[in-house]
Symmetry: C2
Subunit: 335 residues, 2 copies
DNA sequence: TTGTAAGCGTTATCAG
DNA sequence: CTGATAACGCTTACAA
């Protein structure tokens, strides 16, 4: 491996000053055609590539954004959401010649790391818990766009959870269901509240009463979905449908139904939220609500780049719609 | 946002030279206790953070590695593999204060980008197709560790595909199956060859004959698994078990079996490969082979860091064992 | 159209 | 124990 060729080497070879070479590689005017061609020739020949670090130092621009993703491996894997956001973000970033640095690890640590290193021009914070201690710091020190978290006064790209749930529950109601169970997320989480609100909203819209015994809270995992569904299905009268605040819990509910010898969707309709991959592989495949994750990553990144450049974006807060995916776990009541 | 505080500012404040401050922040000796304390004090007080770009420039070290992941969104999502490798790698990198830059996008482009930018000290190439044109370039220009690809003369961390499949097929044989179908991957792919070899190997070990009509090739997706299984299940005598070279195809096979009114595992045992999340949510849950993806990411990253540092690793090529996960899709023959 | 020189914020090498 | 000074590789006024 020979020494890296620098701008000076090319300059020397071409018999010009480094600044001239610089003008050529950055495509600025002020160089004669002949010289320009000669320099390009030399660049190719010697495989010269500008050192981005040196460039960053003088331009005070890293051309890199960071993305903070939740540590939990499970969350990351099971739910396409994070990976999809990441892909959307890297794609949008690449479009503008930005790179994406991934930060994971324990909550405090990764927040501290980002700030400590100053290796990024801005930050995408995905699915941070709203009580995360690093949020104020991050917001203060770094241009940040939050994804899937509606942080007050901050820039964010999120999804209309309430409307999404409401749509799904309305779908069940339209199938004739009048007794609909609800498996929610942990109390106090913003996202749990929003999804519960959607459930209540649909009932209100259709003039349906809400029964407390049809509602139970889970932890967004399969086991808690199983437990909650079991509890709800022991109510009298038994609900004919259950909406779960995420797919994992819906899958748990599906197992609970089978365990009680209930046939889905004949005896019980089921609907989840998230559209994880497994949801299309259960038997029957699960009706659910899909989040535009890839697009969220893209839009969040585009917004972030605008903010970094100091441009005034059209909106600093974007609420995107969800999409209802109807599969075979939801059917007409009593069929 | 005030001007960033630099090492010079701190030096001025402390009444010393920048080099002294540098010694303090990097923890090198040669500074009096008193002075050291005073400088730390100032650093905290003024929230000084060394500029990593400037540091990188002089040290010619970015403290950053790149990771190349396949573009396909589907692949990235459905299979926990890539995300898991990524997590393992970022974790191992963070341990040594390295960061991870993610490269996605079309194959040629991302390869070119990595090289063009020179923003990383080394590269982790995950699941690159062996005919990828950028491999020779990358190998030449950048310290690289391949993950899940056994590239000749290169450093890599992979998994023993042949042994994994062999183990799974042996499991079926031990359950009493003598007619075992095989759904393979696309021809010419190294990974397809290895997995097929495992299937043949298990037959050889147990002195079982291989029947060509029990073998079919798919594309690693669900549809092709469905088609291949349908074809195989029309053989006479019908096999009592099928091994599919990945879970997605096994899921397709499961649907094909149901479509033919075959009960799994009573009429047909099924086993896949990869342990994607869906495999535990099918009905019945799928027996499969699990790859140590997280660990592969970790080890690959550790190996890469050693190579970057110019250390001599114990081994430049690591072949890791798989783990057989027995679930309910495989059972004793004829029960 | 081109060159000169200063500077980006560090670290490293010498001297004192 | 501490300070000067010269890099690191590039951009950018400003000058020619």
């Amino acid at each position: 491996m020979s020494k890296n060729v620098t701008i000076k080497d090319i300059a020397k070879l071409a018999g010009v000053a480094p600044s001239t070479v610089s003008r050529v590689v950055t495509g600025r005017p002020g160089v004669g055609d002949e010289m320009r061609a000669k320099i390009w020739q030399l660049i190719k020949e010697h495989n010269y590539r500008p050192n981005s670090v040196a460039r960053s130092l003088v331009k005070r621009r890293l051309e890199t954004i960071g993305i903070l993703v939740p540590r939990g491996r499970t969350a990351f894997f099971e739910n396409p959401f994070f990976a999809d956001v990441l892909m959307g973000a890297t794609e949008a970033a690449a479009q503008e010649n930005f790179d994406v640095l991934v930060y994971t690890g324990s909550r405090e640590k990764k927040g501290a790391r980002v700030l400590q290193e100053r290796k990024v021009d801005g930050l995408l914070a995905v699915g941070l818990r709203e009580d995360d201690a690093s949020i104020p710091l991050i917001k203060e020190e770094l241009t940040t766009v939050f994804v899937n978290r509606q942080i007050k006064d901050a820039a964010w790209v999120s999804v209309d959870n309430k409307e999404g749930v409401s749509k799904a529950v309305a779908h069940l109601i339209e199938l004739g269901h009048r007794q609909i169970g609800f498996i929610g997320g942990p109390e106090k989480m913003e996202i749990s509240e929003l999804r519960k609100a959607g459930y209540l909203d649909a009932h209100r819209k259709f003039g349906l009463a809400v029964r407390p015994e049809y509602m139970a809270a889970g932890n967004f995992d399969e086991e808690s979905g199983y437990a909650a569904a079991t509890k709800i299905l022991n109510s009298n009268p038994r609900p004919t449908a259950i909406f779960a605040a995420n797919d994992l819990m819906a899958i748990g509910a599906l197992k609970a139904a089978k365990n009680l010898s209930l046939v889905v969707p004949d005896d019980l309709s089921l609907c989840g939220f998230d559209n994880i991959h497994s949801s299309s592989h259960t038997d029957p495949p699960l009706s659910t609500v899909k989040l535009p994750a890839f697009q969220m990553g893209q839009l969040a990144c585009q917004l972030l780049l605008q903010l970094i450049r100091g441009e005034e974006p059209e909106a600093r807060q974007l609420l995107l719609p969800t999409e209802l995916i109807v599969r075979q776990s939801s059917g007409k009541v009593g069929e």
